[in-house]
Amino acid sequence: MRRPIKIIPRPIEAEARKAQPPDLSPEFREPPVDAPLRFDDVEEQVSLINMALGSPSDLAVRRMSDGVVCLFLSPLVDQGAVRHSLVEPLSRAGWLELQEKSQAARVLPVAGLSEARSLEAAVDRVAEGETALIVHGRPTPYTLDLKGRVARQVSPPISEPSVRGPRDSFTENLSDNLALVRQRIRSRDLRVRELTVGLDTRTRVAVCYLEGRSSPEVVDAAIQRLSAVTAPAVIDSSYLVPYLSKRTWSLFPPAAATERADRACAAIVQGRIVVICDNSPFALVMPIHLATLFQANEDHYNLAIHSFLLRSVRVIGWLAATLAPALYIGIASFNPGILPAHAVMTIASARQGVPYPPVIEVLIMDIALEMLAEATVRLPTYVGGAATVVGGLILGTAAAQAKLVSNVMIIVVALTAIGSFSIPDYQNQLSWRTVRYLFTFSAATLGIFGVSTAGLIILTHTCSIDVLGDSFMSPIAPWRWTSMAKDVPMRVPEPLAVKLTQRQREEEAEGTADA
């Protein structure tokens, strides 16, 4: 626990020897040891701030003029802004003209000029990248926002590519990200509420929503939960998810993480809230529904019928990815009579000579597939291609020819892989890849009956999930026909969607939104 900083009078001489400002800028002038220091309160504050920060080597202390000193952490500050906004104006002003904030505001052409409530607060702000301006006669310094950031340029999204649609994505800079949002939503109803989370990282988090479109209860709940974040460090937006959803053990993502600005803005316009975290290129969209996790943003850029086709393909891929191995086990080990006789004989013939039961076949191939997928992600780009080829060879031809697995199993695993990669949201994809193992083990114990049991368990779990008071399975369950008609099986064309949205709002206002 930090102890509050107290100003304790000390012998000036001893203090002068202790303080060793590291900055070597030519403006710095170390006062002669024997000369009397007229601005001892200034030096005291400098010393205290320096000590509170642990005497960092990158702390710059610049004495602008008599009685005026500024401190900042060099890596976090825009040096050009310091020169232009501090050094030049202060070369024409003294400490007397900086006693009141209004005076200081006239002298310093900086928008982010404020008075620190205490020296403690000033230390925190310096740590966050602001510049402290200590003026003789003032008990606490001014702080100025002259932050410079190490940030990359806006670039195309890496994890959510698309054929049609914008190519910009969020970066690690919160301000840039907010700019991307505000460029798209220029409504006066757009609200951005900022908080600071993380005791150590003091990360800025912005909650964006449209007033009148988002539910006030949802917004308040999100703000409250963010305010209650106890994590010492918030390095990425994913750290906030357990606090926002209040589910520590969740199989399915309670929030959609997106690096696409268009997707985040579309969510805001739909009435959801978007949580953007500094230093994280992934914004969180909440509340999220299972149906939404299968929608890609391109669905709204393509024609409605094309979107329907693509969505259907995704659903088929999802079903194949989740159920194909389990169904193979159920049919090959328990209930072969469910298939036409020719298909049964084909599978039986394919399994001739395979030493392992179907469940072991499935596990071998599934785990190999997972390893290949993981390796492809971890390896550098130059080597990744070769690894994919090797993995494909091993998983494919070699395993079948060696009779480790049957040919049918190769087809099953290929279907599984392609199907799982067709799921748009990465976290959703991971969820269903995990669920697949539950289905596999259930099928291994009770066959098709086990698959059905596992399906019911998963369905029960998803039906029990509430995210910020909204059902995860909505609008599928509970029934929200208007909402479902708008964008679940098919994304209706925009004019019709507008009418349906209008009707949906009327129903919600009347309280008849439930079917």
Binding site: P336, P358, G447
Partner: protein
């Protein structure tokens, strides 16, 4: 409390694993012996008749089954096992010591009964099939004049399996004489138990050369007892009446001083029953057919009017009526209600039981009224 509920729910899920982890029914597919066709004969001895069951098991992993690759020998390999027992179940249990694989009837597609199978054995076999778990209700049933076990060993020189051949025979029956229609086992069973008529089963034999199959007609039954056979042309007409809706087949008749062939594309039959003299039911059987006149050896018709076609319609209809009449007389002599006339009697005259009907069956009067709508299609008029 909500947290406690979720904890309890998690425990419940873990508990789920315990009673369900036995994998009791797990049996790998390649360790099963799938029965595709089952045959039924009777072993007659001094002690009586015992059912003789034969089963056909396609061999797995052999060319010709599951699709042969290019250049591979196309011959279908099958294993036929025969055994007799006091009943069908016992015969099957005896087989279990002869087959390298766990017998699995879930893929059973056909049941063939020899015409010499005793009524008791046939009845008992059908009951056993319907009773037994894992045997579907839907295998097709047909009959043979030969030993069922021999039929199962028929090999096609083209490499097609027995199942494929049987399927193909039925599929193209409507392009042929239309006399092949396999009822499902459950339909056959319904006929035997409900006693709403008598069954008729397609007769399929091995060819004389032993290299294939041929459908030779229809086996007609009185209850479970085989009583006679009708030729393909009669079989077509019998199907049209018995099944009430039939997809048809080719019919040959004499008209305009020549033999003409028509393809019946649709047949709808309506049977009306009513009390006749002395309580003997009287029937009116109306058959409506749509047919197409085929080329018939260079037979040409005027393109601009239908007069000839209308005449031919009448001739064909009369021919069919005569054939139906003769067929009925034969069926009466066999005491077989293969036309399922009683099916209508039980509705109109519910007081008459099936046994009562069979007693008066030789005396029933039936008016056949056939109408044919004939069209002529082809690139020559």
């Amino acid at each position: 409390m909500r947290c406690a509920c979720r904890t309890a729910a998690a425990l419940v899920l873990l508990l789920l694993a315990a009673p369900t982890s036995g994998c009791w029914d797990a049996l790998d597919i390649d360790r099963r012996a799938f029965i595709a066709v089952m045959g039924l004969d009777s072993d007659v001895s001094e002690e009586g008749s015992r059912p003789r069951v034969s089963v056909m098991i396609p061999a797995m992993g052999m060319p010709g089954e599951g699709g042969a690759g290019a250049g591979e020998e196309t011959s279908s390999k099958v294993l036929v096992v025969e055994e007799s027992g006091v009943n069908v179940e016992e015969a099957v249990q005896r087989m279990r010591s002869m087959i390298g694989g766990v017998i699995d009837f879930s893929t059973l597609q056909y049941v063939v009964t020899s015409k010499d199978a005793s009524p008791e054995d046939l009845t008992e076999a059908l009951h056993a099939i319907q009773f037994t778990r894992f045997i579907p209700l839907t295998p097709f049933v047909f009959a043979t004049e030969q030993k069922a076990g021999d039929l199962l060993r028929a090999q096609s020189p083209t490499g097609r399996s027995l199942i494929d051949t049987l399927d193909a025979i039925q599929i193209q029956s409507r392009l042929g004489f239309g006399h092949v229609q396999y009822p499902g086992a459950w339909e056959t069973m319904a006929m035997l138990i409900n006693k709403t008529g008598d069954m008729s089963l397609t007769l399929v034999n091995r060819t004389d050369e032993g290299d294939g199959l041929k459908a030779v007609g229809l086996a007609v039954y009185d209850g479970p007892k085989y009583v006679g056979m009708v030729v393909p042309a009669d079989a077509l007409m019998l199907h049209c009446v018995a099944r009430r809706r039939y997809p048809g087949g080719a019919y040959l008749f004499r008209g305009d001083d020549r033999d003409l062939l028509i393809r019946i594309v649709r047949a709808r039959t309506r049977v009306e029953a009513g009390p006749g003299d002395a309580g003997v039911p009287r029937f009116r059987v109306s058959v409506r057919m749509n047919a197409a006149l085929m080329d018939s050896g260079g037979y040409r018709l005027p393109l601009l009017n239908r007069k000839k076609l209308d005449e031919l319609e009448q001739v064909a209809a009369r021919d069919m009526e005569d054939r139906l009449g003769r067929l009925l007389e034969r069926l009466k002599s066999w005491n077989s209600d293969a036309m399922r006339l009683y099916h209508e009697v039980r509705v109109r005259m519910p007081e008459m039981s099936y046994e009562d009907f069979k007693e008066v069956y030789p005396r029933v009067e039936v008016d056949f009224d056939v109408s044919v709508l004939l069209i002529r299609t082809g690139l020559l008029r």
